[in-house]
């Protein structure tokens, strides 16, 4: 196996990682800046016995993905901005139907067509709350080409393990970035497959309550005959409007994510282990790289600065943010949106007394280390 580093684009790494993770079905619709994922899949999936299906729009893409996932395949789709908006209803369907699948959202600016197709990190609340109804979601945000690969594999693993849609919240920065990259060998990264039923088919119930809150999922076309619906349903998969059942189901959808948060939530730290910090930068996605550059510069100037990277964006890393945030005099959050979607979460965790500084850029340009340093120096 060739172990020479190759210059790989983030989107290419995502497509390669999906195949590595066992994905064999892609349904999608072209949209910049995610189209390379579709193009890669159209070339590579047929070579591994997989299927690339180009759909008539994003509603169809996510619909086909859900259908394919229920035949036992690992299925995914990729989109951006307006396409992600169109996908919302069916992502909700995957949530209530507990259908394992992965949606890549290469974030670009908005609202609507917006600054097509410039980078942005402004879909975080849409990723969390974009569907009607109350639900929990998992979202991961890569900061490099290597993480595009690793987190795509992780996204499939979490989707399979917890029977849920997982969003890879990439951004245009990492998706179009090219870096030296060595693809992991088979076996080097863990690949998880969904739990399958083993009992008698006649007794199979697709939403059987279980201790880990994840029931085995059979495959359409197998000897297991089962129903999945976007409506509220009971353990046997049939529509059920009983208030007691709805209480159980909504609670279960939230708690199956909450009770496994330690497996789901991943953070990384850079120079953040001292007992006291002057500055803690909390960053995610492409902006992490900028935060690290700013922190290094501050270190050179004698400022005790560190970085907490939110690899998992949702569920939010409350414990980690509290642990690192409470030992810093000032917390700085760079993000490519106006409203401070992550800064508000950090404020919720650290409380109103914390010195929280925001660095927001929403003009299609990438935040620079200078942008961060300027805000840091104002606060000192």
């Amino acid at each position: 196996m060739d172990r020479t580093p190759r210059l790989v684009q983030g989107n290419q790494a995502i497509a390669a990682a999906a195949i590595y993770a066992g994905a064999r079905f892609f349904a999608g619709y072209p949209i910049t800046p995610s189209s390379e994922i579709a193009e890669e899949c159209s070339k590579k999936l047929p070579k591994v016995g997989g299927m690339y299906m180009q759909m008539e729009d994003e509603i169809a893409s996510v619909g086909a993905m859900v259908g394919a996932a229920l035949t036992g395949s690992k299925a995914f789709t990729a989109t951006s901005g307006p396409g992600f908006s169109l996908m919302q209803e069916n992502i909700g369907m995957a949530t209530i139907g507990e259908v394992p699948c992965v949606i890549i959202n290469v974030q670009r600016s908005g609202p609507s067509t917006g600054l097509a197709t410039k980078p942005s990190q402004s879909d975080l609340m849409q990723i969390k709350w974009g569907r009607h109804g109350d639900q929990a979601i998992i979202a991961l945000a890569p900061a490099s080409v290597a993480e595009c690969f690793a987190l795509t594999v992780k996204a499939f693993n979490l989707a399979e393990k917890f029977r849920t849609p997982v969003i890879l919240a990439a951004d245009e920065i990492v998706a179009h970035m090219r870096e030296n990259f060595i693809e992991p060998l088979p076996g080097e990264l863990e690949v998880i497959d969904r739990k399958k039923p083993s009992g008698p088919p006649a007794q199979y119930r697709p939403f059987e309550p279980s201790e880990d809150m994840v029931s085995p999922l059979a495959a359409y076309g197998s000897e297991y005959v089962f129903h999945i619906t976007s409506s509220m349903c009971g353990p046997e998969g049939y529509s059920n409007n009983d208030p007691a059942n709805a209480t159980w189901k909504i609670k279960q959808l939230h708690e199956k994510i909450a009770m496994h948060r330690d497996e789901i939530v991943e953070t990384k730290t850079f120079d953040a282990d001292e007992a006291q910090l002057d500055i803690l930068l909390i960053a995610f996605g492409g902006t992490t790289r900028v935060a690290r550059a700013a922190a290094l510069k501050l270190r050179q100037e004698g400022v005790k600065a560190g970085v907490l990277q939110l690899v998992t964006v949702w569920p939010f890393a409350d414990l980690e943010v509290l642990k690192y945030g409470s030992k810093a005099k000032t917390v700085v959050i760079p993000e490519m949106n106006y409203s401070g979607q992550i800064a508000d979460e950090v404020k919720r965790v650290l409380g109103p007394a914390a010195d929280i500084r925001r660095v927001n850029k929403y003009n299609g340009e990438v935040i620079t280390p200078q942008d961060i340093l300027q805000v840091v120096k104002q606060s000192n």
Binding site: T32, A38, E39, S42, K47, E56, T113
Partner: protein, 312 residues
């Protein structure tokens, strides 16, 4: 206004899609759109609705616009719905005597925005019966996002999502027959045209579509030098070859009556159309003769059925 076509008179009208837009050299879209808008009577106003497309990004670049008429770009999937709203509200005001003058409502969308993501919106607008024209400028793939296949892409064509290699040889499916889908809506006027010759066919059909009351639909072939991979100076030849090989026949369906508007003097073999285009290059490799034969058979079959319907 005389309906007899006079090229000199038409080109002397002030352009309603002005020069200076950023469409590629050798692109059909600019000619299609300026040709349709030229059919408007000088004194009439228009509202142009545009789906997300090459056309939209190239004719409406900050801080410029190429349109002399009012313009709205909403999204990719709903230009017909947006146009429905503009038309319905304007005509409601007109019926109540609150506005005066003639305003025409014209939507432009590419094949992606029409055959695929916008089909539901288009079908709804045609069925409700808005007094509007919907123009599909058909370049047979998603050129704006980097040449991915659409349901309008013809069989065997190479695109970035129907690559040529060991696992595939271009698109596997035939082109969707959108014009027939629109005919099935039983609207007053449906036509298929292309910017050939002195644009008489394009002009006459555009005029009819704009000035026929009710929903009208034009499907207009719009070659793309990037996606079709032909030298940009050959736009006129490529368009003409599409028509003369009967790959893209010119016809209209007016109140349900089919009429051929152009019959080639000599029907050319389909390979004359395929050969100059890079997207079909693999069809000419030894061993792939069957592809050309199947493409020819498909064109022949469609052409025969059109001859029958138009009573030629």
């Amino acid at each position: 206004m005389s309906t007899v076509y006079n090229l000199k008179r038409e080109v002397e009208k002030p352009a309603r899609l002005t020069g200076g837009h950023r469409l590629c050299a050798g692109c059909g879209a600019g000619i299609v759109v300026s040709g349709v808008l030229r059919a408007l009577d000088k004194e009439d106003r228009a509202v142009v609705v545009n789906a997300t497309s090459c056309l939209e990004v190239s004719t409406f670049i900050y801080p410029y616009t190429a349109y002399m008429d009012s313009y709205i770009h909403s999204a990719f999937e709903n230009s017909a719905a947006t146009c429905s709203g503009v038309e319905a509200a304007y005509n409601a005001l007109k019926r109540r005597g609150k506005v005066e003058g003639t305003v025409k409502f014209i939507t432009f969308a590419g094949d992606g925005g029409t055959y695929d993501i916008g089909l539901q919106s288009l079908s709804g607008a045609m069925e409700r019966g808005h007094d509007m024209v919907y123009v599909c400028y058909d370049n047979e793939a998603y050129m704006n996002t980097g040449i991915q296949r659409s349901s309008s892409t013809s069989r065997f064509a190479r695109t970035t999502t129907t690559p040529i290699g060991s696992a595939g040889q271009g698109k596997k499916q035939n082109k969707k027959d959108l014009t027939e889908i629109l005919v099935a809506h039983h609207i007053p006027y449906v036509a298929q045209t292309a910017p050939i010759g002195n644009f008489k066919d394009l002009h006459t059909k555009s005029y009819k579509a704009i000035y026929t009351e009710g929903p009208c639909f034009l499907n207009i072939l719009s070659p793309c030098p990037r996606g079709w991979d032909y030298p940009m100076a050959q736009l006129a030849e490529i368009t003409k070859l599409a028509v003369d090989t009967c790959v893209w026949p010119l016809f209209e369906v007016e109140e349900g009556v089919w009429r051929m508007t152009y019959t080639p003097k000599k029907k050319l073999p389909v390979e004359d159309f395929l050969r100059p285009q890079g997207r079909f290059r693999h069809m000419f490799k030894p061993g792939n003769e069957w592809m050309i034969a199947e493409a020819q058979a498909y064109v022949d079959q469609k052409w025969e059925s059109l001859l029958e319907r138009t009573g030629v």
